[in-house]
Subunit: 260 residues, 2 copies
């Protein structure tokens, strides 16, 4: 059952966490250490500092809630509520000066997403949603059909990078999608998710990512009037998740292609 | 022979044109008409208004110079100097609320690029360069090796959309590139060019675009210390141009792949 009073409080708190993350990122500016992780992805000291700051705020306000993040060990596992954090999604872009990276903050009750924030500090765009309360870009309500008045042209579809498809040897899947949807964008990171939420992009196929990469996306898309479908690719492996989301008709076609 | 006094004047004027384009775009806000062109691409009344405004300014200041633009007929063809304008590169993104579109302004003397500006109004980022004077993001000097201190990870390569490769039936080329360079970005538009100029992305393969799409890119990349190579793909057709640009080593590998 939805308690909108609680959800409003979670939304306000989620947005405050995003603002806190911005202050940590601004504090470092261009001056921070970067290292490559064993899988070839990057982590910077900013990633860790942001996650630590957000965990402190969550522990102070909701001490019984669990927290899972990309950079630090999980706490209070098994609690009714779990916060999922990717302090800087798109560290590869962040450390290379591309402004589309974002901070992802999601709150789930059991398996159900309750609240989600994707904040783009360098773009001054904060996307947020909570169950029953709608989806927002900064203070403005957004919907996946906000650009439905722009007709003609091929639908725009965002795709995970070839590197993600290659994790399970499924580059052929990417090629099939590109043949059917040639007007693609490969933004990487949560910037693609927020493009879908506001209808700039019709749909996205996100392949072989981690749970926290999608922590805010389902509630953001659904509260914006779109659909979100987890999918299993033929070679799918434990630890990776896939999802397609956005406009219902495009999502159905993408999901069928990926699960073939 | 380079006359840096003249080039400085062209650079100042090119930046002023970009500022003028921003004012026209800001004037329309979110309220403008959009239509699809016969090739499925979009044009908005803002595209035409920007090009008209820039042409008036150029004609007043340099009446003997030629002008070629995406939306209006060429003038003074055959002149020593030619201005090339794409008033809104990435109209597909512009009309869908994606902030990565840009205004492209290039000045060529014969076949030689002299000055180039790529301005991203929604991001408040103006990239500019003139022969012998360096490349800039707003007031800051940029180079393609500005992120060379970030080591490890796969090189990031930006690619034209599948739709561009499909114009000449060369989707196989895209797939070969994706196998060799799996960490791709598909930003579309001149946003990818400016990512390469500041070293955020190692290189780009731009396929089957028009001359004005690259009008500012060669001088921007070369003045940032990178290389720019026009390439001919196996099925290449008149009216389309291709180029790879960025870091010299990656560009050589990309060029070889595309021309195979």
């Amino acid at each position: 059952m939805i308690d909108n009073n609680d959800n409003h409080a979670y939304l306000t708190f989620g947005r405050a966490l995003a603002a806190q993350a911005r202050r940590v990122i601004a504090h470092y500016g261009r001056d921070f250490k970067v290292s490559a992780k064993p899988d070839g992805s990057f982590v910077s000291e900013v990633d860790v500092a942001v996650e630590r700051a957000l965990r402190e705020s969550i522990a102070a306000r909701f001490p019984a809630h669990a927290v899972q993040g990309e950079e630090l060990p999980a706490t209070q596992t098994g609690a009714e509520f779990t916060w999922l954090i990717d302090p800087i999604d798109g560290t590869d872009n962040f450390v290379h000066g591309v402004p589309t990276y974002g901070c992802i903050i999601g709150l789930h009750r059991g398996d159900e997403p309750v609240m989600g924030v994707i904040d783009h500090p360098a773009l001054n765009l904060c996307y947020s949603a909570a169950r029953g309360l709608g989806a927002f870009c900064n203070e403005r309500r957004i919907r996946v059909d906000d650009f439905a008045h722009v007709t003609g042209g091929e639908p725009i579809v965002a795709l995970a990078a070839p590197a993600n498809f290659l994790k399970t040897g499924e580059l052929g899947l990417l090629e099939r999608v590109q043949q059917l949807f040639p007007n693609t964008r490969g933004y990487r990171d949560c910037f693609a998710h927020t493009r879908v939420a506001q209808g700039s992009v019709a749909a996205m196929a996100e392949v072989n990512v981690s749970a926290w990469d999608l922590a805010a996306t389902q509630v953001l898309i659904e509260e914006a009037g779109g659909v979100f479908i987890p999918v299993a690719t033929p070679n799918g492996r434990a630890g990776y998740v896939n999802a397609v989301f956005g406009d219902a008709a495009i999502v159905r076609r993408l999901a069928a292609l990926l699960q073939d």
